[in-house]
């Protein structure tokens, strides 16, 4: 909630003060997630003074001193370049900004409603002008693209949310849902979804699911998500996440293979006769990365696929797409994927597997220790035997198969991939499956092979 203009001053100073300016290792930010710095090579620099002023004055009014603001942001950026986060934060604390203007406060409320992020408890000054209400709505739309950044930064702008959140996890809005800002109890915690009481502003469960998924994905990014360009005059995204109706199925969802007409990608053998050439445009492209249709939206079937293994396959496709988006720090793509996943109820039981599949390769010690955690199974993970269990290794002592050094806890999808690989004939092993290939190898060779497989499937460093 916003402190009424009656108080005339901010409620506190110090690290837990309310704030519209914060910093992370990746830059200086204005609420809800407007970057005030940009990277030039390895160095953070302030954005141009005119843009700085434009952004900050939108919230704090026209009396912001541009030169003073620019100096402060430059100083904070310099500290960040030296990895002196606390000094940068202190610099921002000391910026003598005017109080948030009345119009700025209305805009913050509008943004908060659209993004579902909490407004910092800042002081407000001034009086309303004659700006039409829909103007604020239009201005707020510009911030739709910042949803990812805003969710990430929300606990930093709101120190009390930081206390609610686990120390090592971002605040999860679905675990601690609040009534939307702009109503009498706005910002207060509300019952979780599933309760008969629904928020007055009606944020759909699909949106909530997308946010829950996103909140688990952001920490996997190597940096704070890339923000939109600092010049914000562009049109807002055509379909901002909070506005999307929950009942809307993904557009043009690909049919499950069983429902598709025979052709490329179906799961049935071709009819008798010569298969027709599926695609005419397979011209060689030396630098092609193998990425198919990079700009195609990620879509899932609207209905649960009925074929055996289909749900998990879609989950693995989603995991692959997320991995690619994470590697490119592409938050727009991540949001799109999370949105598509959230719209498909049938895939929700795969979320843990999808998240676990994003694990980076780990050391053997880490994988083995994880498997030895007493009495704790983790969703999305399986215990994998490096020398497999089963008749193919019946000549190996059980003590070896079940020894701690032979059991690694790995992401479930990776486990499935590896199991499938072991059972599939390979050209490079003379047409034998890896299980058959290993049959007459020594225990040491089988173990070394198992480690190699873990490495090549991205599990082991």
């Amino acid at each position: 909630m916003i402190t009424a203009a009656l108080t005339g001053r901010a409620t506190a100073r110090g690290p837990n003060r309310p704030r519209t300016l914060i910093c992370t290792a990746d830059g200086v930010w204005l609420w809800p997630g407007t970057p005030l710095t940009e990277r030039r090579g390895a160095v953070l620099v302030p954005i141009p003074m005119s843009q700085l002023y434009q952004h900050v004055a939108t919230l704090h009014g026209p009396s912001v001193h541009p030169a003073m603001l620019a100096r402060a942001i430059a100083r904070a950026a310099a500290y960040l370049n030296q990895a002196r986060l606390q000094d940068a934060d202190d610099t921002l604390t000391a910026v003598p900004l005017p109080l948030v203007s009345f119009d700025g406060a209305v805009l913050m409320q509008e943004i908060s409603k659209r993004l579902g992020v909490r407004i910092p408890h800042v002081a407000v000054a001034g009086w309303p002008n004659n700006s039409p209400a829909d103007l604020f709505e239009q201005l707020a739309q510009v911030h739709d693209r910042k949803l990812a950044v805003a969710l990430t930064l929300e606990p930093i702008f709101n120190a009390d949310l930081r206390r609610v959140a686990p120390a090592d996890a971002p605040f999860d809005p679905t675990l601690h849902p609040r009534w939307p800002a702009g109503q009498s109890d706005g910002g207060r915690f509300r019952p979780r979804d599933g309760s008969p009481i629904m928020p007055a502003q009606g944020v759909g469960t699909a949106i909530q699911a997308a946010r829950q998924l996103l909140s688990r994905l952001w920490p996997l990014l190597r940096h704070v998500p890339k923000s939109p360009k600092t010049g914000e005059s562009g049109a807002p995204s055509a379909a901002p996440l909070p506005k999307r109706p929950t009942s809307e199925p993904p557009a043009e969802a690909p049919k499950p293979a069983e429902e598709s007409s025979p052709g490329i990608g179906h799961n049935r053998p071709p009819d008798d006769g010569v298969p027709t050439r599926p695609e005419p445009e397979n011209s060689p492209r030396p630098n092609d990365s193998g990425v198919v249709r990079p700009n195609q939206p990620f879509k899932l079937p609207a209905e649960r696929p009925t074929g055996e293994g289909e749900v998990a396959r879609w989950g693995q496709r989603a995991a692959d797409q997320i991995r690619e988006a994470l590697s490119q720090n592409d938050t727009r793509r991540l949001t799109e994927i999370a949105d598509a996943l959230a719209q498909a109820d049938w895939i929700k039981d795969q979320f843990d597997n999808i998240i676990a599949a994003q694990d980076p390769p780990r050391s053997l010690d880490e994988l083995i220790e994880a498997a030895q955690e007493p009495g704790r199974r983790r969703f999305g993970y399986d215990d994998h035997h490096i020398i497999e269990q089963g008749p193919q290794n019946e000549d190996v002592l059980r003590e070896i198969i079940n020894a701690p050094y032979n059991i690694a806890r790995i992401p479930r999808y990776k486990h499935w991939q590896i199991n499938k690989y072991y059972g599939e004939p390979q050209e490079e092993s003379g047409g034998l499956t890896p299980r058959e290939y290993l049959k007459n190898k020594s225990v040491q060779e089988r173990y070394a092979f198992g480690l190699g497989v873990l490495r090549k499937f991205g599990v082991l460093k």
Partner: protein, 133 residues
């Protein structure tokens, strides 16, 4: 997959069939259908044999498949990657640098199923176990 008389097909038709089998392989891998994987492996071997009998030049009909990247929305990344993977394996003795580069690219950033398989293929190669012909 129905057994086809590959000896009657043109090189281009064999390339088409190669794509078709590879796409089905990706499906079988994705859905964990082991028996199907074996059938498709045998099918692909028969096709490759037919192509090999026509000499090394004939195999070059598969070179474009190293960068297989169709625009069709019905082809998914894992399927396209399987085409590239199979083509690379088959072309290691024909265009070794291109084929190896494709395997390395898939291993580095391919979909997880094909990435792992490409990585293992490279390991077999580097260990000297796999000697492409």
């Amino acid at each position: 997959m129905t057994k086809l008389d590959y000896s009657e097909m043109s090189n281009e038709q064999l390339a088409d069939a190669f794509i078709e089998i590879s796409l089905c392989q990706a499906d079988a891998i994705g859905l964990g259908k082991q028996r199907k994987m074996r059938e498709l492996f045998d099918e692909l071997r028969a096709l490759k044999e037919a192509l090999r009998e026509r000499g090394p030049e004939a195999r070059k009909v598969l070179v474009p498949l190293l960068s297989y990247s169709p625009r069709s929305p019905s082809v998914f990344k894992d399927q396209a990657a399987q085409v590239r993977l199979n083509a690379a394996r088959e072309l290691l003795a024909v265009v070794p640098e291109q084929a190896r580069a494709t395997l390395e690219d898939l291993a580095r950033r391919g979909p997880s199923a094909q990435s792992g398989r490409a990585g293992m293929c490279l390991q077999f190669l580097d260990d000297g176990v796999f000697k492409p012909t």
